[in-house]
Symmetry: C2
Subunit: 205 residues, 2 copies
Amino acid sequence: MDRQYTSTLLGRAVDEFAKLPGIGRKTAMRLVLHTLRLDEGAVDGFCQALQTLRHEVRYCSVCHNISDTEVCALCANKQRDASTICVVENVQDVMALEATMQYHGLYHVLGGVISPMDGVGPADLQIQSLVERVGRGGVNEVILALSSTMEGDTTNFFISRKLSPFPNVKLSVLARGLSINDELQYTDEVTLGRSLINRVPFTGN
Amino acid sequence: MDRQYTSTLLGRAVDEFAKLPGIGRKTAMRLVLHTLRLDEGAVDGFCQALQTLRHEVRYCSVCHNISDTEVCALCANKQRDASTICVVENVQDVMALEATMQYHGLYHVLGGVISPMDGVGPADLQIQSLVERVGRGGVNEVILALSSTMEGDTTNFFISRKLSPFPNVKLSVLARGLSINDELQYTDEVTLGRSLINRVPFTGN
């Protein structure tokens, strides 16, 4: 139902919010009316943070992660193990892996996965720069941490072919298996089968 | 889980989005990454619409609806029946009633309902201005279209007392009854009881 706004300013603000993904017109209206209850300074602060990010956003020249500087804080950190590169799809994946506190190497953000359906080919991703990065030497292992989907598997395969000139660089993928707290009977058969094949010695942990 | 942002600009934009009602940190992150994929002009347009609204927002001096002008388009419309005033809580209610296309009178936006729990008293609402508006004459009916809650009922009662010096002004409330498509067996007993007491002649519509 298309509703009439008694104010064109209100209508325009609702239109803008409704353009955001996952936000319908009702939610947009609620958000706009919320901003009307805020201080003018709070609204300006919101807009400034968004515009500053958009105008000044930079991507790390090494790993392509979002960064404030030419080289991001992770790549610049000498404490981290520069001989291991973990290849991920996007910025959220870097944050998810960092949150595990189990990884101390560097990253390489592809910017997506190969997906002909969505018109994403290898040239749209940061694959060539990964090959060049490995080619500069000093890398012992590349961990392919892409989604467990057909697109992810295709991308893994493509990258493994591109890295075949470097036989000394170990290629690995994340383990597939039961999630913590998963119940066996509700686990899909492919995952269950893989977790059986890739079973590991019991250590009591 | 508190995640580290590799960019402080990114972190700040996510913080700002996460302040909005109903938007958590994950959604905020998704919205921020979406804005990074937009043109710079699109982000500026979004912010401009929001800031213009916040800085230039006005409320109609007659009905207190959001308006671009001193008197809103509804109040200024000579085609509408100025002898009927529909009292509503907020701007969304005006839009909901306008969408029915069944109402051709004017509105009065209270800005909420009396709710001691939330610290909202009669003086926080546009009740005095309603009394003055009715006092200027020319009003035949005031429709109390507030929510069917204890707070709404309390506010209805308070307004009816305030309007008691004008015995010629008819006071009415919206009909309570079954919603269209409601099944009898699932309707609560109070609504069902009211719909029985207030039954209307069958006309075939």
